[in-house]
Symmetry: C2
Subunit: 198 residues, 2 copies
DNA sequence: GATAACACGTACGCTGATGTTCGAGTACTG
DNA sequence: CAGTACTCGAACATCAGCGTACGTGTTATC
């Protein structure tokens, strides 16, 4: 999964410059996902590039984070757009969960980095699209009686996010393996959304 | 809920000194729970005390965080020890959830502050006691058939923690009110732990 | 192969936080 | 009421990260 398109950030630049920019973004993703407080220095080093070179391509830390977030959001949208969310709501939810898990685990703590480097409205705006997807699917499932209706929709969305991030943390802690995570999350979320029998 | 006992931190000190120490710890709790990266300055100001005075009582930021964590753990233990966890596992779990919710919401992000100011083993050790309580109860409920057994116990514990923290964040975000939170969490967790019908 | 674009290291100034020191004032304690 | 424990603010040293400037190489590109 190479850094495919970075807007007009690369047009007209030299080949090695493009390669370095890609390496920087790639390194920033993996560094920020692990620790949202990494220094620019470490990101540059992880990209195999001098700190000054990095500043040649990105005006500031905020600018870099912005590009990274944008890139992550684009990847996310692409992956989610490819999903079929029709048919049985529970099966559709399972598919959405599996893909979201990959993305959450990969981009991990990037949200936190975004929160403290970007204006709040930009963060909210980046969140809104994926959130809407969950909302749509949950609403449909509630109509069909597949999901419980006795709690706020927004809470259920937040719940799913919390479980995804919790699972990511659990994997990093070594509590569960990356292999068993998807099935575990799927069963857990479906269990939490199943209407109570009584 | 005054800061009751702070070890031998206060013995032999003057009355106003004791009062200030208590105010500092109290302020540190509420500040760190909101933002784990607050400066010492802000904590001192929130306590109505000069920064220098704070350093007169606590050697360093780490020392302060250490005392705060210790104090929080003590409060936690006290509150949880007072609970009756016998009888119907689901009812007992509901009680444990309600109390844990209060504590989680109050101490919030303090864990994060601890993680980056204290040695890792001290953090782990502080976590172990409450975790064991969840484990014990869940194990008993699994034997009784009250909770599902088809996922690792540790995952279920992590899940509960994730839900509690997620709910706290949701309240801070204004998504749900503090009043509706306990019932919501209770229903959600019980739903997630209920054995699947098929 | 000439040239412009790029990478690199070093060094510098800036900021914000931490922790310390000092001198002087204030208030608890016996 | 005397002495001492404590508080306070200001000032200082330190450190780490950010962002910039400069001079010197390298290397893609035409």
């Amino acid at each position: 999964m190479p850094v495919s398109e970075l807007g007009e950030k690369t047009t007209g630049k030299r080949a090695d410059a493009r390669k370095n920019i890609a390496a920087i973004v790639e390194a920033a993703i993996s560094c920020l996902a692990r620790d949202p407080d990494v220094s620019i220095n470490e990101i540059a080093k992880a990209a195999g590039v001098g700190r000054v070179t990095l500043y040649g391509h990105f005006e500031s830390r905020a600018a870099l984070v912005g590009v990274v977030v944008e890139h992550a959001m684009q990847q996310t949208d692409e992956a989610l757009d490819a999903l079929d969310l029709e048919g049985d709501p529970r099966a559709a939810l399972a598919r959405l969960i599996d893909t979201s898990w990959q993305l959450t685990h990969r981009y991990g703590a990037l949200v936190i980095a975004a929160e403290q480097a970007l204006p709040p409205d930009q963060v909210r705006e980046a969140h809104s699209k994926p959130i809407a997807r969950w909302q749509r699917l949950l609403r449909r499932g509630r109509r069909d009686g597949a999901f419980r209706k006795d709690m706020p929709l927004d809470w259920q969305v937040s719940l799913i996010q919390a479980i995804l991030h919790g699972a990511s943390a659990a994997v990093h802690r070594g509590e569960i393996t990356p292999e068993q995570a998807p099935a575990l999350i799927r069963d857990t979320v479906l269990g939490a959304l199943t209407p109570p029998s009584d």
